[in-house]
Every structure is written in structure tokens, then in C-alpha cells.
Symmetry: C2
Subunit: 272 residues, 2 copies
């Protein structure tokens, strides 16, 4: 729990770029069909560098967003991004998702994306977000599941490096396999479940840009953020790690590269 508020992938410029690349690749898949009604108030909890914020706010131009994050630096980046994109319906606020500075039932809706996997106590976060959500309002959660990922060719080294990354996150007390648990998490938090669905991305050499983006701009850079911990924890030796990263990049290449990953989106309604 020591590392509760630490973002596992770090706060570097490279990571910020990775998050934006990821977002533009995934926006269509993950929340292109999410639109909030005019006049409604939406809490985006854990907006980070604003990777999802711009798309979210643009798709619901008449809704008002409050986007919070625990990192002032990330908020600065998010603010700059929305300004450069001409988005005006978002206000940013520094806040901890585990103790939100809002009254009970302050928001019509809550949106949280790629956040619960990085927390030590997702049920407590859900309870806190539910507290500030009005009755009848929706709670939308989007999370990945790193156990869903596979690629071709999948060498032993690339699988071992990937598993080491998962283990690093687990050792921090977080859950990189949280996607498959969204239903019980929302359900036991007392939400009426509207939907819990998998959203999968697949690319092969018929879509070389998507394949390159998925491997070289998202997955391999994400693995790299866990390099030092993986080695220090003795989860993998350096040679296998390097080979694994190289093999992962190979999966972006013709003639036989391919990659698959699944996120989950859950929507719950607060009745009580």
C-alpha cells in the first residue's frame, strides 16, 4: 500500500506521448459511443495527462466535465492539451480519488478509465466515486486486462518479459488483470449493472499501421516502464528481458506479426 498513489508507468515525457498515442488509437474502440446529455455534470476521475479527456469532452460538448488527478504535473499537461484542442467544457482540479473533495451526489455521471488497475483498493475507490454520484446516474469504468494480450510470433522470452511486467504491477499491490473482474467489482459496489463488455483490438499485417502502433507505440513502451523493477526484483534476467523486448518488436513485422488485446467496459447505475 506504500506505493498506492504512485503511477506504475511513471511520469516521463515519453510516457505522456505513449498515453496520447494509445488514446488516439483506442478512442474509437473504447468510448466513441459514450455521450453525456446536455447540461449534465460528469466527473472524470484520474484524468492523468488528459489522454481521454479531450475525446470525452468533444463528444459531449454540452456536458460539463470535472477532471481530477492526484498529480499536479499531469493536470498541467491535461490543461495545456485541452486548451490547444479548443476544449472549453472541462475544469481541472487536483484531488485524490480515494477522498474526493466533493459533496455527496455532486455529479450526474462518473467516468474512470485505466485507473482502477493502478490502485491498491479498487472497491474503496468505487465506493468513494459512488458517494459523489447522484442516484440514477451512471458509473462508467474502462480497464484493460494484461492477461488478455498475445502476439505472434510469441517467443518464450517475450512472454516472460510480459509476465514480469505483470508481476511488477502485482507486487505493487495493483491489479493488471482487473478487466475480468469489472462485473463483480461494480456489482459488489452496489451498482445495477447496465453492461460489462469486452472490447478487443486485433491487428495483423493487413493493417500495418495499427500493428505498428499497438506493438511499438503502446505495448513495448509499456513494458519498458517496468524494466528496472523487473530486473531489481529478480523476476527476469537482463538478457532474457532484452531478448523479450526485441521479440515483441518483431511481432510488429511482416509477414506473420499480429497482436491482440482486450479491455473491458462496465457501466453501472446507482439506484441507492
Amino acid at each position: 500500500m506504500l506505493l498506492l498513489t504512485r503511477y506504475m508507468h511513471g511520469y516521463t515525457q515519453r510516457e505522456a506521448e505513449r498515453l496520447h498515442d494509445q488514446s488516439s488509437i483506442l478512442e474509437q474502440l473504447l468510448h466513441s459511443d459514450i455521450a453525456y446529455p446536455p447540461g449534465s455534470t460528469v466527473l472524470e476521475a484520474g484524468c492523468g495527462v488528459g489522454a481521454q479527456t479531450v475525446a470525452l469532452a468533444k463528444r459531449s460538448p454540452q456536458a460539463g466535465f470535472t477532471s481530477i488527478d492526484i498529480s499536479p504535473d499531469s493536470l498541467d499537461r491535461a490543461r495545456a492539451l485541452t486548451e490547444s484542442e479548443g476544449v472549453t467544457n472541462v475544469r481541472f482540479q487536483q484531488a485524490d480519488i480515494m477522498g474526493l473533495p466533493f459533496e455527496d451526489q455532486s455529479f450526474d455521471h462518473v467516468f474512470v478509465c485505466f485507473v482502477l488497475e493502478h490502485l491498491g483498493d479498487p472497491p474503496a475507490a468505487l465506493a468513494e466515486m459512488k458517494r459523489v454520484l447522484k442516484r440514477g446516474g451512471s458509473m462508467t469504468v474502462i480497464e484493460g486486462d494484461h492477461g488478455s494480450c498475445f502476439w505472434n510470433p510469441e517467443t518464450a522470452a517475450s512472454r516472460r518479459a510480459w509476465q514480469a511486467m505483470i508481476r511488477v504491477q502485482q507486487e505493487m499491490g495493483h491489479d493488471p488483470l482487473i478487466g475480468r473482474r469489472l462485473y463483480p467489482l461494480l456489482s459488489s459496489a452496489g451498482f445495477d449493472i447496465d453492461e460489462v463488455i469486452p472490447l478487443s483490438a486485433y491487428a495483423d499485417c493487413s493493417r500495418p499501421e495499427l500493428l505498428d502502433g499497438g506493438i511499438n507505440k503502446i505495448l513495448a513502451p509499456m513494458m519498458e516502464t517496468a524494466r528496472e523493477e523487473a530486473l531489481q526484483m529478480g523476476l527476469i534476467d537482463r538478457a532474457t528481458w532484452e531478448q523479450g523486448i526485441a521479440d515483441m518488436h518483431r511481432a510488429a513485422m511482416p509477414p506473420d506479426g499480429s497482436v491482440f488485446y482486450t479491455w473491458f467496459r462496465g457501466v453501472g447505475i446507482r439506484r441507492q
Copy 2:
């Protein structure tokens, strides 16, 4: 290559039942949108016990199907099933997919489902099926990918037992991870690719029957077919195996059970 023609999961009554349960659960997902034109001739290569045959033939009542399998016993079961279902547009024939007893360009279309993963040389099988396919005709391939599967709770024992099953199949020279390779397989066989898409099934406790069917009627019984080889090959010890099977059944239970699996469907057109 010794075991080339041996069906990895065996030919027991229980396995036949597993295949039919699997088919009824999956039919909607995997080929509910496949319909062949009236008057067209379709080769179903490797029909097994007819698990897919009935659905396939019923959906294209005016097409004529030739369903072949290497096992006479499986063909008897397939024949009995189609008769009991009142299906009359299928003729069965014992034949080896690696050396089909048909002239070049005999069929308008070819359909193959859950077969390539059990062969020692999928490219040779594709070449042979392409030989008997007319120019302009379609080749439809549906295969699973056991590396795509995950469940909750996913214990170390259940993952180890699952991986042991995968290793057994790999040791036989087959490829249980073939789904992710459909694009390069079809492409290098000279087909024009019409589509290669993932088809995923997900169940949680909001759909208890699907969850029960997926775990208790498909996945766990499939693992059981690899039990003796897995133990004999020393891939896993008996206690871990038994724990793994028990843990897999646990993933079918409330409140937090869930399961995910992905198949791939590829459609290629023969131009030359």
C-alpha cells in the same frame, strides 16, 4: 508427424458430447452469418462428429455439402446426427484432408473449422483444400487460440494446468495457438484475404448459463482430454493438475467467476 492423423482430444462419447455442447454454444458467434448461395457446392473438410455440419447445412438449405473426415466412426455419428435433424443436403465421405479424393477445382467453397490446429502441416492442408476449390471461390477457416483464454479467479494451478494442455498439443506437433496465425497462413497459401477477424466469447455471473457452459462443458472437459499425456510427459504433477481442474471449475461460480476466449475466422478468395 507420427501423430498427424490423431485427433488430440480423443474419440470418446464424452468428447462427442463436449463437441456438440461447444457447437451449440458457439454456433451463433462463429458462423451465424455464413450462408452459401443456392446451387453452390461446399466442401466441409474435417467435419468430425458433425458438430458444425448441421448448423452449416441448415443455414444454406439450397447449397450442397460434402463433409469429409478421416475417422469412419466420427462420420457415423455425423451421419446419424444430420438424419435425426432432418438435414438432407449433406453427403458424407471418408477422406484425408491431406490428400483429398477430388478433382482440381471441384467445389465452389471450402469450410474448415477447428481442424488446422490438429494437423502437423497446416500449410499443406490449405494447399490441398485450395487445389479442390474453384477460382473465385471462398475458403473459410475458423480456429481457436488457446493462448487467448483467461478466467477469474485465475489461480497459478489453473494456469499451469491450462499451459500443460497447450504443451501436450504442441508436443504432438500441432498448434493450439494457430488463431493468431490465420492471416499469414491464408496469405502465404496464395489466397486474397477477404477478412481475418477475432470472435470472442465472454461470460460473467450476469450470464450464469453461458459461464457454466463455457467452463464446465467446454474448457474443463477439454483440459481433461490432455490429463494423461500432461502427467506422463512430466509437464505438471498430479496434485497441481487436480487443483488446476478444481480451480477452473471454480471460475464458473458466483460471485466473481468469468471467462474469455477468442476464435479467429479467416476468409480467403482463390484468384489463381
